[in-house]
Structure formats: structure tokens, C-alpha cells
Assembly symmetry: C2
Homo-oligomer: 370 residues x 2
Amino acid sequence: MKLVCAQNDLSARLSLLSRVVPSNPSHPVLANVLLIAEPDRLGLAVFDLSLGMQVWIPAQTEVPGSITLPARFFNDIVSRLPNAPIEIAVDEVTTTLTCGSGHYQMQGISAEEFPALPELEDSQQVVLSAALLLEGLQGSVFAVSSDESKQVLTGLHLSTQSKMLEFAATDGHRLAIANSAIETPDIAVTVPAKALRELEKLLGRQETDLTLRFDPGQVVFEFATEQGMARLSSRLLEGQYPNYNQLIPKQFERQITIERQLLVSGLERVAVLAAQKNNVIKLSINAAKQQIDLSAEAPQFGSGEESISAQVSGDDLDVAFNVKYLIDGLKAMNSSEVQIQLNSATSPAIVRPLTGTKITYLIMPIQIRS
Amino acid sequence: MKLVCAQNDLSARLSLLSRVVPSNPSHPVLANVLLIAEPDRLGLAVFDLSLGMQVWIPAQTEVPGSITLPARFFNDIVSRLPNAPIEIAVDEVTTTLTCGSGHYQMQGISAEEFPALPELEDSQQVVLSAALLLEGLQGSVFAVSSDESKQVLTGLHLSTQSKMLEFAATDGHRLAIANSAIETPDIAVTVPAKALRELEKLLGRQETDLTLRFDPGQVVFEFATEQGMARLSSRLLEGQYPNYNQLIPKQFERQITIERQLLVSGLERVAVLAAQKNNVIKLSINAAKQQIDLSAEAPQFGSGEESISAQVSGDDLDVAFNVKYLIDGLKAMNSSEVQIQLNSATSPAIVRPLTGTKITYLIMPIQIRS
């Protein structure tokens, strides 16, 4: 195997791929990146047996072939090379990298030991714009559980609602649903959040169309890049995803319309006090003054209160929330105003942006002593 | 006590002061910032019994007085307030902060419990430009020992050489000396590096003159800021500072003149390999080719080599260094070319920038098996 490629192409891709490589791989070859030199292009792949990433970059290939190299180590060197052509030459598993006046030798592992990336059979297919996909992700993925023991809740659920793609995430305390304008055939899959976060990075700010393919066990995202192709595959999470739509109340006794940024800033300030004790803040609806009051107490330190004008309908109410959850949801929205709907201090509240991506954010109040 | 000040003045200063506050103070009041409301200005001070920082900002003081408030907590709230006037009102030790529609109450500790910041008596004085001081610091402070048990080596030694201020730092493995164009009377003090790093931050990019005052136990830096005055005081480190000038060889058998940035880039690449084993790199002087070769080996991974053109005088030599130390020194210089002088593979090498601040960087080679 022997080829020449551009340092900036290789470095940009390697830095994304090496993120996916497991720190403590079950087999040494999983810490490696697979290089496949084909005529005119170099394929690069990493795979942790769940998440796989493959990209192609332009290359002048003199001798086709393949090898695997330690991913992080290879990336550490390539990222520090000058932006110039890099020659990669492989003799058995000894790989020589030459760039300018630098020569690096490293010991690879035969490509034959690298596990095959999954192939889909009889898969269904959706074509969707990267921009709409990213909107859907940004409106929901923050609510995924980070607790690995929660299994299906560590994934984002993609399903069809009225022929459109719906994104849902919940960690048991809050639920975020983003409704996209992506037409889709019937789909109901739960994709590990990690795979989607890596997909976000792999997409960058590129405007493109992706092909999403899935079978009962796997999902594959594929798209063209400036350098060539990119493909991300992931196993799907098994298990029944909660029937979350039934959690959303049909009617509300109280409604608040409020400037999103003012609310976030106020919450961030009372959060300083709330951080001293369980992150609990109190939200008091004041219909007479057409405002809401946010307050928190920090034992030993003190207390804080913010008043924010709002359009309020319904009776006064005091309700407590985890301030971090409220801020997470509000920051995932980008409308200038949001609507908060609720019934009581013990039933779910719903936050929705008034414009932009359709997001439904459900958050459970915290019980407070009267 | 009651006053009004601007959020941006208060926040900018508090964020610097709260860095100095100890995390586990020996007395609760040391976690607090002292506020002193004087006519037309608010004084703020923190003190960890070694390092003290005092600043003043403009204020409309209605009722003079003083209080101490939990520094980090106070900073966390103030930094999140909108850029608007803040009213601070104190009743006994209960302090109320009002800004826009936000009200915060916190419990302070009486100012009487705050330890007095040290006053200098019979002190000597140097007036110096902030720019020259920062140059001297940047050329030397990186070589200070970070090992608290090394006592006097955790400080920067300021002394008079030919009537000018010299900065010296050593951790026992390397020595950095920066010679400034600051005229000074006789001085020989060792200032904790931490104090000088905080001074750098407090100065920011401001062009100003500082007054440095010192007595046998303390040093005080004082300067005018856009908001008012700022003062940093620190105890001096006790103990005899090593007589470092005697370590510098008088003559050299070998000399290399080389582009600094090329050398740093090459070192950073072979450092990836060296990082796998003790950070050792080999520097080989090649007089015939007028170049130096940098190389490192990483057991299990591979090896790397970089060749860099240089003006070389003297015989060929292989010498090994800790690559981190070399990079640290080269990065503290800002000339386009540097000169490396050395005698043998077991005696100190000296690196000097060809232009800019006069820096002498001594680094001991590492013994390698032949």
C-alpha cells in the first residue's frame, strides 16, 4: 500500500474519527483506524462494535491496499504536520509517514483483523436535509438520559407522526419532542444519543442531504462531503420506548407567554442560589401584576428573587422546578418568546417556543412543602 | 452602608478577586471579599494571609461602611446581572443587592473580622512599566517549580544585575533568566509565582506604570486602572535563592542558530512519540549537512525523525533532552531565530533568542545509553 494525500484533508477527518475510538478497547485493533487505499481515494474507518464511522478523502494511490493504525497516536502526529502532501507507505504492517523533512514509522495491525462494519439488508430509506435533522436533534437530544443503566432512555427515539419525522428524548424527569418537516415512511427506532452527537460533529455546518437507512437492528446515515463520502452507522437500542405522547396534558388551566431570553437570564441568576440546594427554584404566577416571580433560597448564603413581565392567564400559583431542566429546555429553543402551560403544582408543565422548530418540552414540577 | 455602582465595573474586578480566595480557608472570613464604601468609590479586597489583592471602583456612596461577602457566591450572582446600576445596601450583616427587577439577599460577616492587609514600613521602591514587567515575567516564570515542597524554587527571584532588574526561575532541571531594561536600586527578593501570575491577570493589557515596593518580608505592586487603583501584595519566600549565574558555562564548543518556529513545530511532532516514554528526544548535530535531526522512539508504537536546517558550528554530537522543557523555553521567546550553545551531552545547554527580551535558558541534557 502506498499513497499521497493532503495533510488538511487527513487531519480534519482523523480528528473526528479518533473521538469514536474506545479508550479501553476489548481488542487492540478497535483502538485503530482502518485505512483502505483505493484508486483516487483513501477510506478511513473506526468501529467500537456499536458505532462505526467511515469517511473517504482524495488520494493519489500508487499501490492499493489496507492497514490499521493506532488512531489517537496517528491523529496526534498528523494534526501537527505542516499543511503539505503526506506520503503513507506500508510494508507488511510497518507504516512510514513522510511529510516535508519528517519521517515517522509506526507498527500497524493487519486490516484482516478489523471487524466488518455492519451492512444493512432489506433496509428502509429516508432522504432528509442536514439542516432539518440538526434542528430536530438540537431540540431534543439534550433531554436524553446520561445514565447508561437507563438503556432505551440513553437514545433518541425517531418515529413517524402524521407522516413526518418526530424526535423524542426523555430521562424520566423531562421529555423533549421536536417535530420536523421531514417526510418519512413509517419508522420507530431508538438511536444511541452518542451516535447522533458524533453525527452532528461529522456534519459540521455543511448543507447537504443525508440518506438515513435502517433495518431492525442498525441505522446508517450517509452523505456526500467536500472531500468525498461519509457514513455513520450505529446499532439501535432495543426495548420498548415509553409511550410518551400520553403524558402530555390535553388542557391547561394556566398559561404564560414570556420573553425567552429574559426568562433564561433570570433563571441563571436564581440558579446560583438554587445550586446550593438541589437546584430547586420557585416560579410564582402573578396574574394581577401580569408577571412571574422566580425565587430560590440558599441556606447559609441567602435568597434571591427576579420578577419578569409576562402575559399570564389563569389563577395565581406557586410551582417549583429543577432550574437546570428549565434552562436546558429554554436554551434548546430559539424563538424570542415561549409559552408555558400548566395545571397545578404537581402536574406536568409544557414549554413551547412560539416560532421556529416545533418543540414540546414537558417538565415535572418538584413537590414543595406548603 | 449603601451605594450604587456599575455592574460591569464590579463584575470585572470581582472575577479577578474571587480567583485568589482560598477554596478551604482556615477561617470563614477568608472566603469573603471585603467591601469598603468610601465617598465616590468602593474598595474591594481579598486576602489568603499570603497574597492580598485590593481594587477600587467608582461608586455613588450614600452611607459609607464596610462588610465582607462570600466572594465566589457574590461573583456568581454579579457576573450574571445585566449591565445596569447595582444597589448594595447593608443592614448589620444582611446585604441586599438590587439590580433591575432582581433582589438578592446574602449574609455577610462583619468587616472587623477580616484580617488587616500588610502595610510596608521603611520600604524600598521601584517604578517600572507594566510592559517591561510582563516581558520579564513571560520570559522566566514558566520555569518556576510547581512542587510546593521546593519552597524558594516556587518563586521568581528578582534581583539587580548591572543596575537593571533580572528575573530568574528554576525548578532544578532548567533555569530561565530574563534581563529587563528596568532600572532598579539593589533588590534581591523571591516572589511566589502565584502572586505574579495573578498580577499578570490583574494588569490585563493595560499600559501603565507600576510602583513596586518591598521590605524584607513583603512586596507590594500598585498601579492606576481605568476604574481606580489596584494593589497586589504578597509575602516573600524565605531562604537563600540558588546562585544560578555560576551554572552558566563561560565557553561553548558547539553553536546552533535555527528558526525558532520550525524548531518548535518539529519538536511538537516528535514529542508525540516521546510522550510515550519519559518525553526524551534526541537532538543530533550534523555539521556537514548544516542541520539538526530530532528523533524519538515510542516502544510499541514506532519512531519519528525531523531534520531542520540550521547554522551549525562545532563537531557532530548526539544529545538528549526532555522535549517539554525545550518547548516551554522556546515558546517563552518571541524572536524568529534562536541560538543553542552547548559543550557536551552531559553539560548544560543554553538557549537564547537573537532579538527581543534578553532571555538565557539553561537546560540539562538527559543521559542516554550509548
